[in-house]
């Protein structure tokens, strides 16, 4: 699931080489921490978080298939 988040983020930003994700596994949920270059923050968050919401929606759909709860955090 981390790879999916990384792929989407890299497609959106200007500095794809600076995109990193870190997965923290819990019992029933996974937290995916997404980090991008400071100047790319807007590209993964968007106005009123619209882009971040779209990323989370897509990831959530992929996660339902695996019966997992995935939380995407942008740090």
């Amino acid at each position: 699931m981390g790879e999916l988040v990384k792929y989407i983020a890299q497609a959106l930003v200007d500095n794809p080489e600076e995109v990193t994700v870190n997965e923290v596994e819990g019992e029933q949920s996974v937290i995916i921490e997404l980090k991008v270059a400071p100047e790319d923050m807007g590209k993964v968050i968007g106005k009123q978080g619209r882009i971040a919401k779209a990323i989370r929606t897509v990831v959530k759909a992929a996660a339902t298939k695996e019966n997992k709860r995935v939380i995407v955090e942008i740090i």
Binding site: A11, R50, I51, A54, I55, V58, T64, K65
Partner: protein, 205 residues
């Protein structure tokens, strides 16, 4: 991606050579100057030629197709992506088994995928293209559902003489409600609230 590296006495000369070698017009090339030309001392010593890297820009159709194919692969879904270029819009049709998952609750996943795709293809500067993604006739069905809902609620407003506030909808869906009732003699519609919680209100005229 097709690209060439060319040299010339000036940057311009190197670019012209690249245009000739790749056989496409200049506006379809991404030019990267690898080395600036230098005249050198007396035009002889330390003279350097210009070196450029020229690659053919991928069109939005290809970028969309690649993005979606990779996305679905990473989502673990087997989906065919068909892209049609209608000038100012890319119409994309998705074909596969698990389409309910791709559509999501009230189309929210389909809309998210559509939004991300439009961001990705319009990242590079040139002309903006709209992206419309559909599958199994979902958009058409949803439009019919919204039109039915609008008419039904308009009747209710007429009957009860009380306003009805609909649930939040995206601009596209709100427009369907407004346009369905725009010629009604008994009710009028307007929107209230801020995105993404903006709602249509149907009230007595």
């Amino acid at each position: 991606m097709k690209s060439v590296k060319t040299t010339g006495n000036t940057i311009e000369e190197a670019i012209l050579l690249a245009v000739a070698q790749l056989g496409v017009s200049r506006d379809r090339l991404d030019i990267d100057v690898v080395e600036e030309p230098e005249k050198g001392v007396l035009g002889i010593f330390g003279r350097k030629k210009a070196v450029v890297n020229a690659s053919i820009k991928r069109d939005k159709e290809d970028i969309a197709k690649d993005f979606l194919n990779n996305l679905f692969e990473k989502m673990g879904l087997d989906i065919d992506v068909i892209v049609k270029d209608d000038g100012d819009t890319l119409s994309i049709e998705l074909i596969g088994d698990n389409m309910g998952l791709v559509i999501g609750y009230r189309g929210e996943t389909l809309d998210a995928i559509q939004y991300l795709t439009s961001l990705v293809i319009n990242k590079e500067g040139d002309a903006y293209k709209r992206v419309l993604i559909d599958t199994e006739g979902y958009r058409q069905k949803r439009e019919e559902t919204l039109r039915r809902l609008a008419r039904r609620l308009a009747n209710k407003v007429e009957r009860t003489k009380k306003d009805i506030v609909l649930e939040p909808m995206n601009p596209y869906e709100r427009r369907i409600i407004h346009s369905t009732l725009q010629y009604s003699s008994s009710v009028k519609t307007y929107s209230q609230g801020e995105e993404p919680y903006r709602r249509v209100v149907i009230s007595l005229r």
